[in-house]
């Protein structure tokens, strides 16, 4: 599994009795690097857990090939790939299964919740009983399951969102374009593009990239934004293998691409509570940072050593 992803992933592997083994990512797509994974497969490997990024699906074909030759099953964490396509086919139909979230911050808001998609009818049967304690008939179980049932209230919310999905993606796209326009021409800043390559995107995030020639660090910029009540966040930082919140047992390999990228991105505020024009206000804030960098540095250091 990658370390440039959601903090819960290694914990969930551990709950299932598995030990995470982190692999590096591709510098352009930010998705798990098949070469890094191929080098990590041993006779103890039971699963490849690849993660689609918001700006790019995984290397699906490469992983399906690797899974076929190695015999190691392949599952995708597709939380950020909802509504997207890979080579014209919807995310959700690849690997052994794909896993999505219904958390309120996601494309489909079911308060909390999630769903699994699979082409394998037998696996679907197993999943249906596993989510209800493994019960097959009148209290008799086929194995260890759990209570993973989605309740009707959460399902109703997600269904209502599903009906409005196209409009939501259009509004996400409009916000992304407004951000892109507003940030054009600020030296030292770039952003993660949704490529114009015929694939479908959900435009869920606007990920700002802070280059080395921006005069403030990524973390300083985030602090200034949060001081203005713009709840921006460092994107997947620190990476999981460097996080003190990772379970104890995890070894910490060298993941050079992950470590470099984890210092560069800001996840900017998005979603339906962002008002039209907010993107421009935020871009102005960055122009201000650029224009007053020496004073800001002085103020930060004075705060450290008053």
């Amino acid at each position: 599994m990658p370390a440039f992803t959601y903090a819960g992933l290694p914990h969930l592997a551990q709950w299932a009795g598995l030990r995470p083994r982190f692999c590096d990512i591709d510098a352009f797509t930010h998705a798990l690097d098949p070469k890094s994974v191929a080098g990590a497969i041993s006779n103890e490997t039971s699963l490849i857990l690849a993660v689609h990024q918001v700006n790019s699906p995984c290397f699906v074909a490469e992983f399906e090939q690797l899974s076929a030759t190695s015999g190691v099953p392949l599952i995708f964490d597709s939380v950020h790939g909802a509504h997207c396509t890979y080579r014209g086919r919807p995310i959700g139909g690849f690997g052994l299964a794909e896993v999505f979230s219904l958390h309120a911050t996601k494309l489909l808001n079911g308060f909390e919740g999630g769903y699994v998609t699979t082409r394998d009818g037998g696996l679907a049967e197993v999943l249906r009983r596993q989510r209800n304690f493994g019960i097959i008939d009148d209290g008799v179980t086929a194995g260890i399951g759990m209570n993973a049932k989605l309740n009707e209230i959460h399902a109703a919310a997600a269904l209502a969102c599903l009906d409005g999905l196209d409009g939501l993606v259009e509004r996400n796209c409009a916000r992304y374009r407004a951000y892109s326009d507003a940030f054009t021409g600020i030296e030292g800043l770039d952003w993660v593009r949704y490529e114009n390559n015929g694939e479908q995107w959900n435009y869920e995030f606007f990920l700002l990239e802070v280059d080395d020639d921006f005069p403030l660090s990524r973390d300083q910029a985030v602090e200034i934004l949060r001081g203005e009540n713009a709840l921006a966040r460092p994107y997947y930082s620190p990476p999981l293998h460097r996080s003190q919140h990772c379970p104890d047992f995890v070894s910490t390999p060298e993941l050079p691409v992950t470590e470099r990228l984890a210092q560069r991105f800001i996840q900017m505020p998005v979603g339906e509570s962002l008002l039209p024009g907010d993107e421009r206000v935020l871009a102005e804030l960055f122009r201000f940072m650029r224009g007053h960098a020496p004073d800001i540095h002085a103020a930060f250091s004075q705060r450290r050593n008053p």
Partner: protein, 403 residues
Amino acid sequence: MTKRRLDDLGIFGGKPEFQEPVHVGQLNLPPWERFEEAFRGIFARRYFTNHGPLVRELDRRLAEYLGVRNVVCVTNGTVALMVACKAMDLHGEVIVPSFTFPATVQALSWAGLTPVFCDIDPQTHNISAALAEPLISPRTSAILGVHVWGRACDPAGLQRLCNARGIRLFFDAAHGLGCEHDGISLATWGDLAIYSFHATKVFSSAEGGCLATDDDRLAERVRTVRNFHVAETFDRVPLRINGKMTEAQAAMGLLSLENLDHWIRRNVELYRRYAEWDVKESVGAFVDYAGSQRSNHQYCIFDVDPARLGISRNQLLAVMRAENVLARRYFYPGVHRLTPYNLLFPDADLSLPATIAISERLLQLPLGDGIDLGTVDRITAIMEICYRHAGELRVRMEPTIQQ
């Protein structure tokens, strides 16, 4: 038309007593207006999950109701048990009854623990200190007691035992919201107790559950385990999970709390109606699990002694099902007989005689918001036919129904 003869019964071709299935669960709902008002609030705030204002209020209100220092609401009762195991950092073996819902034991398995099945007292349907003590080994890290039907499972005895042996004690009080032992809320016995707010329970948040503890440090660990958020990290814990309750669940829970006393009174009223029939006929089979203790009466448990009723539990169940009464044989056949535990512990039967005997006798009958006194009377009328014509019923059913 009231059924009088065996031929009137659905199982022998008569028209089923109920057109729609009658369920055993509570399935209590708040008034629609209150529900709508609560959800308008959620939409106005646009705050859906991640420790929202309603969840925090429910944590507070339940702590008050249960008389305990800390309540932490989570996704459901199973997740509550999984969180409890990691918050207490348990290892090795945990002593647990087999006479419980499978989730009690499955949660231990998810937490990497080995269940050691303890037999029950046939009078209380619960484990006790005397039954658990011989099972303690050097690998035992805790006892997980289950307050079956909300009836306390020897909490004082188990506490003395665990203190003496230096192991942890926690309780599955999934049935026990509003129940007390010796005038003390079940929430405060042991290191921690978990509750379930599943829709079939007297207190419902659609799905849901909580952990309750008087130990503030343990509560911080519980709050840390139940999410992955850096801002909600209060202690170093071995493993974490997304077990957050949502604002939708919390809204349902808060409304449930408003109506809880009403529903408990209703349960008592329905239970007494069943018991009246029982007393009249001297079958003596309705389990008075409350005794002198405060109880929520959310289960109506009928103990079928074939020597007295004349037919077996499974025969009565078959009759009820044919009338569209979805009675249930909780907790049949005992978790130790369910996969995978039957494969892991093939000899467990030998040490669990009371569990096996009781699991073949009990039948859970409908209670809750979906039924009224008239429904109870129609169900006891069916039992009356079974009781009056037990001999003939046995003869007619034996070829098809397992004893």
